[in-house]
Each structure stands twice: as C-alpha cells, then as structure tokens.
C-alpha cells in the first residue's frame, strides 16, 4: 500500500502538471481502484476455493505446473497459485476450452496410471514426474497446461495466480503506472543524439 501511495503521488505530480490536476484527480480513483484490487487480491492469504477441479485434479495440475516453473532459490508456479488461476480461467475467460482441458487431464492420468500402476502423478517422485512429462511434452494437453501456467504467473493477481506478484518478481517487472528516465543501465549516461554527418 505504501507502494500504491507512492505511485499515486508520482502520477499526480507528473501527469497532473500538464493535464490539469483536476482531470487526474477526477479520474485517478478508478485507475487506483483497479490497482488496489489487484494488490489486495495478491495479499489475500486465505486458501482459494476450487470451482472447476476436484481436489485430485488440482493436485495433479499443480504438480505439472510446479515442474513447468519449478521452485528453486525463488518461488515457482506452486507458490504463485497457478493452479487456482487455471481453475478459475476454465470457468471464465477460458471456458471455451474447458472440455478439451478436462478430457486432456483424464487422458494424462490414464497414461500415467498405465505406466505406473497404482500411482498418481502428484505423489510420484521428481525423477518420475520429469521423465513422464518429458514423454508428454509434445502433447496438446501439456502445451495447454504450460500456456496456462505461464499466463497464471504473469496475469494480474486478481485472476487468481501471480500471488504476491511472484511472477513479476521472477522477471524483474515492477507493477507501476509511472516511470521516469533513466529506465535501464544503458540509457543512464546517454550523451544525446548526434545528427548524422551530412557529407556522406
């Protein structure tokens, strides 16, 4: 919230000067509201409810996503809540592909059970999971989980993933509305643009 307030101040002082502070003041609340909503969703630690998946589905999908973006020195898809993002997506914006996802998951489980009788993907050890996913990586279902996991890492937290901005932290992205130069390390000491030599 300190960050949101800072962003808001910067926004008002930079944009307000030229636009007329009245304009920005009048319209800022809705911009800030969307931003605050995303932040509060990200900060909400209560376990999200599942709507599309059963608990068993969710365990497998979470385990797959956790291999797609694994947890190493930094959090991965599991901590980002990618499975909750996928669950919610299949009921909302991504609903047109929900049936395809469901049958893909059933097929995935069937194949895993055939290769590992009595086992579930989610409870298998890591080498087993990696070997099985490698065998499936060209499948439409794996591509689908991969895409949704990545989208869930970087979409606004209000969609259920990217908790605490974990995805953004991974890629060094700052969620702000206002920046000022220098933007990066290479434009810091830029001497200015020199017009070309006209003799050539």
């Amino acid at each position: 919230m300190g960050e949101a307030a800072r962003t808001r101040r910067e926004f008002l002082s930079r944009a307000g000067g030229a636009l007329g502070a009245g304009f920005v003041a009048a319209h800022w609340p809705s911009i800030a509201a969307a931003h605050a909503h995303a932040l509060s969703a990200a900060a909400d630690r209560t376990p999200a409810a599942l709507g599309f998946f059963t608990a068993g589905d969710a365990h497998d999908v979470e385990a797959i996503s956790a291999q797609i973006i694994p947890t190493d020195a930094t959090p991965g898809a599991r901590e980002a809540g990618a499975v909750y993002f996928i669950d919610r997506s299949l009921l909302t914006w991504h609903a047109p592909r929900a049936a395809e996802f469901r049958s893909g998951l059933a097929d995935f489980r069937e194949k895993f059970a055939a290769a590992h009788p009595g086992g579930a993907f989610a409870t298998a050890d890591e080498p087993t999971q990696l070997a099985f996913l490698t065998s499936q990586e060209k499948s439409a279902f794996f591509s689908h989980v991969r895409a949704l996991t990545l989208i869930g890492m970087f979409a606004l937290p209000q969609y259920g993933g990217n908790r605490d901005g974990i995805g953004w932290q991974l890629i060094g992205f700052e969620d702000r509305h206002v920046f000022a130069p220098p933007f990066g390390d290479y434009d810091r000491d830029y001497p200015g643009f020199k017009l070309p030599d006209r003799k050539t």
């Binding site: 206002v178 130069p181 390390d185 290479y186």
Partner: protein
C-alpha cells in the same frame, strides 16, 4: 454540446468508422461546415476505463473484435475451405472495436512512406505472382498531409535525423521521447556497422500538447488504451474536436450492415443495428467508409443488391482483393545489464537503411528495424529460444526479461490478388450477417525478405554486445492488425475500387478511405499514411460537396 441527429434527417455525410481515418474525415468535414454522423460498432471508453490487464486485452478480446460475436474464417488459398479459429483463439483480422478504433490500441509508430513507395512498379517492373502497382498519387502530393498529421494529431520525433528521410515541409511539433536502453544499444550496434539509426517518430506526446499530458512511461502502449491520453489516438484528438463543432455526432454501438442505394445508383444512407440489435436507417447525402481494411470491404460486399449484384463499388471485382498485412521478424538480444524495456514506449530508435528494395538480393522487399520492448510479460513468456520450453532452464530464461530487447523487423507484403476479404458462404455473426472470410498466403518474397532482415537485426544486436541472440521463426501470415489494400486506389476503374480522390469509380457520392485504400503495404506502421490520406480525402470530398458534385 454534442449534436444529435434524427435518423430521418438526411445529413450531409455518414462516416462509417471512428478510427484513424474516420475520425479525421469527420473532424475535417464538420469543421468545414457539414453535418456528419459517425457510425461506430463499438462503445466509447474514457481514459480511466483502460487497464494494464494483459490477459483481458491480449487473450480475451478486451477491446478488439470478439471471435464469438464477430467470428471469422481463414484459409490459405481459394482452393481451401475456410475454417473458424480453434476454441478460445483470436480471429485472423484483429482491430479495436470502440470509438477511436485501432488508434486506441496501436503502438503509435508513425513512419511516413518514402517517395519510392509510390512508384515501385515503374521502378522495379512487374513481379511474378504479385499485383504490384504504382499509386495514383505521389509522395509530394501527400507530404502536406503528412505534416498535417504531425501537427494536428501530435507526433514526436526529430526532423533531419537520418540521411534517407523523405522531404518534410515542417519539423515535428514535439521532441522525440527519451531514449531507452534498447535505443542506446540499437544506436551503438547500428553505428558500428555504418548504419544510420535515428529517434523513432511516435504519435505519443513527449510534452504537453493541445490539452493532453505527456507520456508517463507506463509501458502499456501496444494493445492497450492510454489512461493519461498521451497517445495521440483519435479518441483523444480528432473525435472531441469534431464534436466541438456542434455538427458531428458519434453514434456508438451502431453496426452498419448495408449501404443503401437508389435507382439512380447513388447511395442514400446506411442501414445499421443499434445497441439493442434493432434495425435502423440513417439517411445521408453522401457516405464515407472508413471501417478499416477488412470491415470496409465486407460492408461493400454485404451491400449487394439487384443493381449491384457483386457488391457496391465492385464493377472491377477488386473489392476485398489484394489484402496485405506487413510481414516481420523478431530477433531478441540478451545483454549483461538491465535494460528494463517494460518501461516507457515500445520504440525509441529505428534503422531505415534497408528501406528500399534491392534487386541484387534476388527478391523484392524492404523494411525497417526498431528497438523495442516487444510484448508485455504474458505474451513474452509464451515463446522462448529454441530448446526446452519448461522446467529449470526455462525459468532461467524467464529471468532474462529485464536484460532482453527485441530488434523487430517490419517488412513489405506484396499485393496478391487471391489474398482477400470475402463473405463466408455459411458462417454468420451474432447479428445474422455473413461472417468475414480471410484468404491469405504470403508472396514468397515477403518471407524471404523478412528472414533476410532478421539477419541484419542479429548483426546489429551482436555489434551492440549482446551475450545471447535468439529468434522467433518467420511465420506465414495468418493473423494481422495491419489491414491493407482491399479497396485500392487507382486511375483505372477496371483495376481499382476508388479514384485518386477516394471516390468510388462506380458511385459518385460514395467515398472509401482507410487502410483499404493503400496500393502497396509500405514497410509497416501504416497509420501515419492512412491519416494523411484521410486529411487529403477530406479536402477533396469537401470541395466536391461544395460544388454540388456528390
């Protein structure tokens, strides 16, 4: 003081489309004293309605044509059966469906065409498999209108910054945007190779301009609406100025599905669906179509009647044909330190040294390379370098985001007659009208040149000191936001749809001006040219109207 007109009032002009061209024409005609109704399919959003929501805007048709309500079909050649996109996928031909049109979500790169673009057919001769033609106008005829775009719309840039810059009668009204790290690196790499990088012209306010504030560098230009009105969208520039005349109404959620004609073969107005899908009719003395390079052609075809059985303005059979997209190629460079390209505008430096087509290469093509962010995080994350695309190593790849820039090649598409917008014989949209069918296969030279330019981009990144360079494969064109060429201008009524003044060859009070008017594709970034054409068209249309010639 927005004026409202009754349907039964025959206004001077109905303009179909409130985007890059339509808003300019409406503003010019209303300022010249004519009554204008602008019909817009989509809603009107305010700056504070726009969000940094990549999922919504890029994956869920937030402000673009929706594949469920306005479905399309696609095929590569006329021999194929066109299919709908897969469930959850986008349409092939994408445009922003709201007041301001695609000028709301564009990236705002504003390149002028060069003089050579207007007469490549004469210069290079015929190209097998392509319908390359000269334009019926020259750069010099359009130059005053390019300058008008710079000043009336609001473009930032630096005049005289590169040796092959086309002649310009006035400098830019605003200095270029502050350079980003990608711009510094492109400049460094290109200069090492003897090239001539220069500050990118952008329709984004670098300082306060005509009541709009300067850019705050939020980084969400491409595909998003600007929440501070720094982007010079017609939503923030031309539309309010047109309405301020008291002679222009922008009628939102009004979907024109047929242009009406009388027994004398003149247009009399437009049939449209209002927000509640009720059919209505707006009478007009003349009609201007600026619905974009896909919808304009579709509307002419949907307006077929017994007198014009192949669609309006289509005695040549050319309506919908010669669709062009602009090809391109993407080359990424990863550097030692942070660039943080996600901040600020997409592009700050640009190379036009490969603009002209060079017969020595063995194929046609020209283009520019710019230094940019590339897509925002979600879309960026979906495609990486060749090799493992998940797991530990992919997570490490994702970590390169702040150290990565994109050298994007923007290239030519040759006009090919079979590439087209037509009406799908079976599929209907949510209003029961024929769905748009796209037929598209790149001319082989388009792919060859895009690949060739990718090599030049890689050389620039290498010379700039990139630690790693990776490329996305050059893909055959199957989706586009540059919708060009489908009602081409020309002097020959048998080979073109509109004349050099954008008047339909077949119907004296019907005008067409948008991306569909373009005879060649340019090298990318068509909006600047579309708007210059619109300012020019408006001058001529007003002249005709004053003389009673419409």
């Amino acid at each position: 003081m927005t004026r409202r007109y009754r349907d039964s009032e025959s206004v001077d002009f109905v303009v179909v489309g409130s985007g890059s061209a339509g808003a300019v024409i409406a503003r010019e005609l209303s300022r010249k004293g004519f009554d204008v109704v602008v019909m817009e399919q989509g809603p009107r959003l305010a700056p504070q309605d726009f969000e940094h929501d990549e999922l919504k805007y890029w994956l869920d048709s937030g402000i673009t044509n929706n594949p469920t309500l306005s479905p399309q079909t696609f095929r590569k050649t006329p021999a194929d059966v066109a299919k709908r996109p897969g469930a959850g996928d986008q349409n092939s031909l994408i445009y922003a469906r709201l007041v301001g049109g695609s000028s709301v979500h564009f990236t705002a790169n504003y390149w002028r065409l060069h003089p050579v673009d207007f007469h490549e057919r004469s210069l290079l001769g015929a190209i097998p498999g392509a319908a390359l033609e000269d334009w019926p106008i020259t750069y010099d005829e359009l130059e005053p209108y390019y300058t008008k775009v710079d000043w009336e719309i609001g473009v930032s840039g630096l005049a005289g910054a590169h040796p092959n810059e086309p002649h310009r009668s006035k400098p830019y009204p605003m200095p270029p945007m502050p350079v980003k790290s990608s711009g510094v690196l492109l400049e460094k790499g290109a200069r090492k190779l003897g090239l001539h990088p220069f500050p990118a012209p952008l329709a984004i306010a670098s300082q306060a301009y005509r009541g709009r504030g300067p850019c705050v560098h939020c980084g969400f230009c491409m595909g998003f609406g600007c929440e501070v009105m720094a982007k010079s969208s017609t939503l923030f520039s031309m539309i309010p100025e047109a309405e301020a005349t008291g002679r222009c109404e922008v009628r939102t959620e009004s979907y024109v599905f047929r242009v009406a004609t009388n027994t004398r073969g003149r247009v009399t107005g437009v049939h449209y669906f209002d927000a509640d899908k009720r059919q209505k009719f707006q009478a007009a003395k003349a009609v201007v179509l600026s619905a974009n390079g896909a919808e304009t052609a579709r509307l002419l075809l949907m307006s077929a009647n017994s007198q014009f059985p192949d669609g309006l303005a289509n005695s040549s059979g050319m309506v919908g044909k010669h669709l062009m997209f602009n090809q391109g190629s993407s080359t990424f460079g990863v550097f030692e330190h942070n660039l943080n390209e996600y901040k600020s505008v997409q592009v700050t430096r640009l190379v036009h040294d490969f603009y002209d087509s060079d017969p020595q290469r063995g194929f046609y093509g020209g283009g520019g390379i710019d230094a940019r962010i590339g897509p925002n995080p979600i879309i960026w994350s979906l495609d990486g370098p060749e090799g493992a695309n998940w797991g530990k190593s992919y997570k490490d790849h994702l970590r390169t985001f702040p150290r990565t820039m994109l050298a994007q090649g923007h290239t030519t598409s040759l006009a090919v007659e079979a590439n087209s917008v037509s009406l799908d014989p079976e599929l209907k949209d949510a209003w029961g009208m024929p769905a748009m069918r796209c037929t598209y296969k790149d001319h082989p030279d388009d792919l060859k040149f895009a690949l060739w330019l990718q090599g030049r981009a890689a050389e620039i990144l290498d010379a700039a000191g990139a630690q790693k360079i990776w490329r996305l494969p050059v893909a055959e064109g199957s989706e586009a936001v540059h919708l060009l060429g489908t009602c081409r201008m020309g002097n020959d009524p048998a080979r073109s749809v509109v004349d050099r003044f954008h008047r339909a060859h077949d119907i004296p009070n019907l005008f067409v001006c948008d991306g569909s008017s373009m005879v060649t594709s340019g090298r990318g970034q068509p909006t600047m040219t579309i708007q210059a054409l619109a300012f020019r068209a408006a001058d001529h249309i007003a002249k005709f109207a004053r003389r009673g010639e419409v």
